[in-house]
């Protein structure tokens, strides 16, 4: 993390603006990111399901998984791993850091 150039990090949200039952949309350039809160920890995943075009910000968080609103595919929020069909591909995850009440996401445009 220390070696990452500082311009990869983007302000995402104030901690108290992130609800725990639904992901918060963060847009960085062309990237649509779903910022998720699990207790006091924050994680960032792609907002678009790998199965069909649907936004997790229209879905909801259940335990440490996010469920897609269209076909109920489930993904593990900390790792992006598929946990339930019909999706087969894992989600991209993004680095997250906190500085006080601010949450930042790391977006490396490769």
């Amino acid at each position: 993390m220390d070696s990452a150039p500082s311009d990869d990090w983007h302000f995402a949200a104030k901690t108290d603006c992130v609800e725990d039952d639904v992901p918060t949309l963060v847009t960085v350039g062309k990237f649509q990111i779903a910022l998720c809160r699990l207790g006091d920890e924050f994680f960032a995943i792609d907002n678009i399901c790998t199965h069909e075009h649907a936004c997790f910000t229209d879905g909801f968080i259940d335990g440490d998984e996010v469920e897609c609103p269209l076909h109920q595919a489930r993904f593990h929020i900390p790792t992006g791993k598929v946990m339930g069909a019909p999706a087969e591909e894992d989600l991209r995850t993004y680095g997250v850091k906190r500085e006080g009440d601010d949450v930042f996401v790391q977006v490396i445009d490769d």
Binding site: D21, H53, A54, F60, L70, Q72
Partner: protein
């Protein structure tokens, strides 16, 4: 042994699809102590039409509970559990009294709040009447509909007063229609503007006079609100952009724009034709209660017919079971669509697409709120009084905005968002002040000439 295959993925492959998929219990089961039932009991719900009340108690079933509703001899309305607290005889056979009713079996006399006023067969010093009450719910009668609150008494909200209940130039006529299907199916229909293109227009010809432009695919914009959703769908017809706004307040209240209208010229902030709730009778039956709005301004064609509105009827196409099977097959309407999704739709077997954004948004919000209630959290409920009613948005705005040399879809999308912002900025006003403000602002932003 069943295989977990939710959809066929190859041609001629009906064989082997999992036939044991279950309904989405969390969103569809509504009885006492079910998660959705507990959630729905946090809101005032319409349960009967005033016209159902006569000189005997009327048996009804709401949220899986058997009840009687009645107007006693002094004019007060009661809503009691149907089975007498004494021996369980149905109070539909009770006699109406000056206050409350009297069971036919042993004469126990209940007030409208369930208090026992008399147990005539018991000794004079009997304490029974001080120990027991009949199950009862508070009610409110508004413009021909009777509403009740079924939830925990300490969480009862004020009756939510919507602006649409009292619009100066609107006449509200109550109606009610049964569907043999789960409440969510008809409710989802109201969050799905795309079905209008196919079911109401392309499939069997235009079903609604004045809404022929529904044949065009709409550009849809959803706005999330704490109490539900406002969404709009818009289409271009020549130089006009026709925008239709809907309210969808969770769990089950919806409003939409005018019927029988003339949208061929610019107008701003037309109001709703329908205010309606889809109320669960039980898991596999629902009953819509609502008001049909009459006003000559929005319904320019004046084809609405008051005598066709009431119990089991409304004055536009395809809303009830009371039609021939031939008609249903040749030109199916809303009722056929939502009733035929099975008694309880099986969400796991559905393959949703982009037309179902509203449906999936609605299901997610319901699931979040149902879980919040189950965890003992407070959820946002609509709040409004006759003096400061809840501002609602349903209705039509038509703007003269010629096509520009760029992406018209983006233009139609942007215009809808701007109009919505103007609507929202009018929330600080009430009644005619609000309409005038919004109309003035829309005209200033999008001059009609």
């Amino acid at each position: 042994m069943s295989v977990d295959v939710r959809w066929a993925t190859k041609p001629f492959n009906g064989y082997g699809i999992n036939s044991t998929l279950k309904e989405d219990e969390e969103l569809t089961h509504v009885g006492p102590e079910t998660p959705c039932g507990e959630y729905m009991r946090r809101f005032w719900q319409p349960v009967a039409m005033s016209s159902q009340l006569d000189n005997q108690p009327t048996p009804i079933r709401i949220l899986g509970e058997d009840l009687v509703v009645f107007r006693d001899m002094s004019g007060d309305i009661g809503l009691l559990h149907k089975h007498c607290a004494h021996r369980g005889a149905s109070l539909e056979f009770a006699r109406l009294e000056e206050h409350g009713l009297r069971c036919c079996y042993h004469g126990w006399h209940y007030d409208i709040d369930g208090t026992i006023l008399e147990t005539p067969g018991e000794p004079e010093d009997s304490k029974i009447r001080h120990k027991v009450c009949q199950g009862a719910y508070p009610v409110r009668e508004v413009k021909g509909l009777i509403f009740a609150y079924f939830g925990p008494p300490n969480e009862i909200p004020e009756f939510p007063y919507y602006d649409s209940i009292n619009l100066s130039d609107h006449e509200l006529l109550p109606y009610s229609i049964h569907s043999p299907s789960n409440w969510l199916q008809e409710s989802e229909n109201a969050m799905d503007p795309h079905h209008s293109v196919f079911l109401h227009t392309r499939h069997g010809g235009s079903q609604f006079a004045g809404l022929e432009h529904f044949a065009e695919l709409p550009v849809v914009v959803y706005h999330d609100r704490a109490e539900g959703f406002v969404y709009s769908h818009a289409r271009r017809i020549n130089d006009l952009i026709m925008i239709r706004f809907h309210d969808h307040l969770t769990p089950n209240m919806a409003q939409n724009g005018a019927m029988f209208q003339n949208l061929a010229k610019p107008k701003a902030f037309g109001r709703m034709a329908l205010t309606k709730w889809v109320v669960p009778i039980d898991n596999t039956n629902s009953r819509k209660f609502g008001w049909r709005h009459f006003n000559d301004k929005d319904e320019g064609l004046r084809q609405g017919t008051r005598e066709d509105i009431g119990w089991e009827k409304v004055d536009f196409y395809g809303q009830t079971a009371h039609r021939s099977y031939e008609e249903m097959r040749s030109n199916p309407g809303d009722w056929e669509a939502w009733s035929s999704q099975r008694p309880i739709a099986v969400h796991q077997s559905e393959y949703l697409g982009t037309t179902d954004e509203g449906v999936s948004k609605l299901r997610s919000k319901l699931r979040r709120d149902i879980r919040a209630v189950a965890k003992g959290k407070q959820i946002k409920r609509p709040e409004g009084t006759p003096e400061n009613p809840i501002p609602t948005y349903a209705g039509d705005t038509t703007l003269r905005i010629p096509k520009k040399n760029r992406d018209d879809t983006a233009l139609i999308d942007r215009v809808q968002r701007e109009v919505y912002e103007i609507y929202e900025s009018g929330d600080k006003y009430v009644g005619a002040d609000r309409s005038e403000f919004i109309q003035r602002e829309v005209e200033a932003r999008f001059p009609s000439s």
